[in-house]
Amino acid sequence: MLKYIGKRLLHLLIILVAVSFITFLLMYISPGDPARKKLTSGGSIAVSEELLEKTRREMGLDRPFLVQYGSWLSGVVKGDLGNSYKDGLPVSAKLSKGLGYTLTLSLSSLVLALAVSLPLSILTAVKKNTPADYIFRFLSFIGNSLPNFLISVLLMYFLCVKARLLPVIAENSFKGLLLPTLALAIPLSGRFLRQFRAEILEQLGKSYVSGAAARGVRSYYILISNVLHNALPGILTVIGLSVGTLLGGSVVIETIFRWPGLGKLVMDSITARDYPVIQGFVLFAAVVYVLINLVTDLLHRKIDPRIARQEGRV
């Protein structure tokens, strides 16, 4: 097991270098001048070319690509992600602040989505092609197909403006977390419900289920101990992929609900061509994705020992 983890972590290092190099290259060749963005308040104010050149030199943007990348990489190796072009603050501090908010929002929406979708997916699978199945599948279809911004605006309009149940401005509080959590959890629940249902239905169609039923095993026991257990790897994969996406932050929801998470931070940084922050975020996202995949794979091996045995043979 430890050898397996070590191998995967070694892969992580290679992925990090490759991803950071490609991102750095893409930013380097993409249009937009960080110095101009910084000096001109996003292009609104004209400044002299002399001042632009001086600022580019100070920011190190006049150096060749490989020198810039090498300098950034050597900083990273020493644990220094650099400072933001925009405000001079350390990238690590900016990312950690955003991460706190994103982690809270991701976990709350994931917990809510699971609390809603897991029981409903079992219900709709067991009660396949009944009115309950049709109704919840229809609702999941609606939830899944509505864009995030529309859900957010509708929630805000009906719950804040019309019903006055929640404030539009409710920062740094449990109340402030409710609306963005709902806005993220609604489409997530819709997606989970459909995918979990499909996994459970697949297991319900297997011969071991009818065999157990024929032997008189209670259907509740079959469902919990066999069907759900066997559907778990597929369900974990779906959850793992969603966690990765959630931790990347949601620009739209974070902007609408004034939730200062990573999504909004990185979007603002892309607009400002704030390379150090973008690079820092890319590193973070790559680590998160790789680690979540690793955790998901480890859980798969734990749940289904056949996977480890098969890999061992190969």
Binding site: S44, A46, L51, T104, Y157, I169, E171
Partner: protein, 513 residues
């Protein structure tokens, strides 16, 4: 047991996260119950910065909006430069030494009187901390007396007063604190109660404000980027006003005048295009400008912009210029004078070659919509045009000059003086010289404007320069973004009549809500 442990872990992480968010965010939320008896104003702002240090970056724009910092001079609603912390000024005969007297009663919120020495140190600090003001390092500042300072410039520098209205020149007490990022001590009518970097800012009345009683007890600025959020917060009564109202929100607010007051004025952000003189002859450029209907474009944009004649608002003394109204017959005559004839498709061609203009633009500040509308208007006049969108105009068509029509948007009037825009756009060595505009008389007038110190003469020179540019059809001035402010009943004095973005609340701001 395991399930309980997982559940406990999740609850703990969530609680910690919420606690971290609450503590990490500072004390941005206001105690509305405590403030219920006080006159508290709540406003939304589209931008927020990580620091309150007026000298750094563009942060001074917001310390000025918050009513925290003040400058020696300011621009009034009619675009005149008037003294603020200063009481008056004189200029030496050689126009290089400015003597500025300060208001005797001006003082910081901690009671420390404002002195010339403190102002000098502020300017020196600004020149060291802000790249855009590094040029001030070439000036010689001296505190002649307690309330009198002199500024000596190496050359004649007529725009000094305009520069001193820039919010980055806001004065801070450099001895009161070292935490300029979070709690600077300044002279404005409000002081910081709590500051959340890039978040909510809570300001309270400066009880010892030097320039009289401050009407409001507290002002809270919420950072709200999203237009829908601002609209909803205004509708739910959680905020009392904001600027940059969108066309859609304007419709909603204007339908209920008993609850909302809309104020709309042409501001300083200019949408314009350059016509490439290296490719288009005089008559074609004339035909283009006669075919582009700026009023129709402004109407299409839902009142978010006002049709422009020149780069400056007509209210300014340097905005008195004229341009011909759109005229299809004149445009046709100009094209025919250039040797073009209409082909069977209804487009102008010469020697069998259809004239197809290349309109370059970038997708910001409605320039994409303007490009489409211009294409439609030109095609209607028989001038074919194609659209070329670019991500970075400065690195592409403005750098190379590879365009027929180049759209752009910038702040044309930084602070009550026309020179900045004229120098940036119309000089023969400016970045826009790639468009080929060069006029000896215009250049001579710009040189005179550079050194002219009399405000009336400056305005006259600016008007002559812009008129030459208009008559030459070197540029087309499409629109000036409107500053649209919505306020709750009883709220006045949040700079809603001022075209500049960097003024906000002041001692006279009143709110009866």
């Amino acid at each position: 047991m395991k399930k309980k442990a997982v559940a406990l872990f999740l609850v703990s992480v969530l609680s910690l996260g919420i606690a971290a968010c609450a503590s990490g965010g500072g004390s941005g939320t206001s105690s509305s119950s405590d403030a219920s008896e006080a006159k508290v104003l709540k406003l939304a702002e589209s931008f927020a910065y990580p620091s309150l240090d007026a000298h750094k970056d563009y942060y001074g724009w917001y310390t000025s909006i918050y009513g925290l910092t003040e400058t020696l001079f300011r621009v009034d609603d009619n675009l005149n430069i008037v003294p603020w912390l200063a009481d008056g000024y004189t200029v030496s005969d050689d126009s290089k030494t400015w003597t500025i007297t300060l208001q005797e009663k001006a003082a910081f919120s901690n009671g420390t009187p404002l002195t010339a020495d403190m102002v000098v140190r502020n300017f020196e600090r600004l020149s060291e901390n802000n790249e855009r003001f590094a040029y001030m390092g070439d000036f010689t500042f001296a505190a002649a007396e307690d309330h009198t300072l002199t500024i000596t410039t190496p050359d004649v520098y007529p725009t000094l007063l305009s520069d001193l209205t820039a919010p980055e020149t806001g004065i801070m007490d450099l001895d009161a604190t070292e935490d300029f990022d979070n709690a600077p001590v300044c002279t404005g009518p409000f002081v910081v109660k709590s500051f959340e970097p890039e978040g909510t800012v809570d300001m309270v009345k400066n009880a010892s404000y030097w320039d009289g009683e401050v009407n409001l007890d507290e002002v809270i600025f919420y950072y709200m980027q999203d237009d829908e959020s601002k609209l909803n917060a205004m509708q739910s009564g959680e905020i009392d006003g904001y600027t940059s109202v969108t066309a859609a929100a304007k419709q909603i607010f204007s339908a209920d005048p008993s609850r909302y007051t809309l104020t709309e004025i042409p501001a300083t952000r200019l949408q314009f295009y350059s016509l490439n003189e290296n490719r288009l002859d005089d008559n074609v450029r004339r035909a283009i400008n006669l075919s582009v209907d700026c009023e129709a474009i402004a109407a299409y944009l839902g009142g978010t912009v006002s049709a422009a004649v020149g780069p400056f608002t007509a209210a300014a003394p340097y905005g008195k210029v004229t341009k011909p109204a759109p005229d299809a017959a004149d445009a046709r005559a100009a094209m025919e004078a250039a040797g073009y004839v209409l082909n069977s498709d209804g487009f102008y061609e010469k020697d069998g070659q259809v004239l197809t203009l290349n309109i370059c633009y970038y997708k910001a500040r409605s320039l994409d919509t303007i490009a489409l509308l211009m294409q439609e208007q030109l095609q209607k006049a028989g001038i074919d045009a194609k659209l070329t969108p670019e991500e970075d105009p400065d690195g592409t068509y403005i750098a190379t000059g590879d365009y027929d029509i180049a759209l752009y948007c910038m702040i044309a009037d930084k602070a009550g003086d026309p020179y900045y825009c004229i120098d940036a756009l119309f000089r023969s060595n400016s970045r826009w010289a790639v468009g080929g505009f060069k006029d000896d008389e215009c250049e001579a007038l710009i040189n005179r404007l550079q050194y002219e110190t009399d405000p009336d003469e400056r305005a006259a020179l600016a008007n002559q320069i812009v008129q030459i540019v208009i008559d030459d059809n070197a540029f087309g001035f499409v629109g000036l973004f409107n500053k649209t402010t919505v306020t709750a009943p009883g709220l006045t004095g949040i700079a809603e009549h001022c075209p500049f973005d960097f003024y906000g609340v002041n001692a006279d701001t009143t709110f009866a809500g």
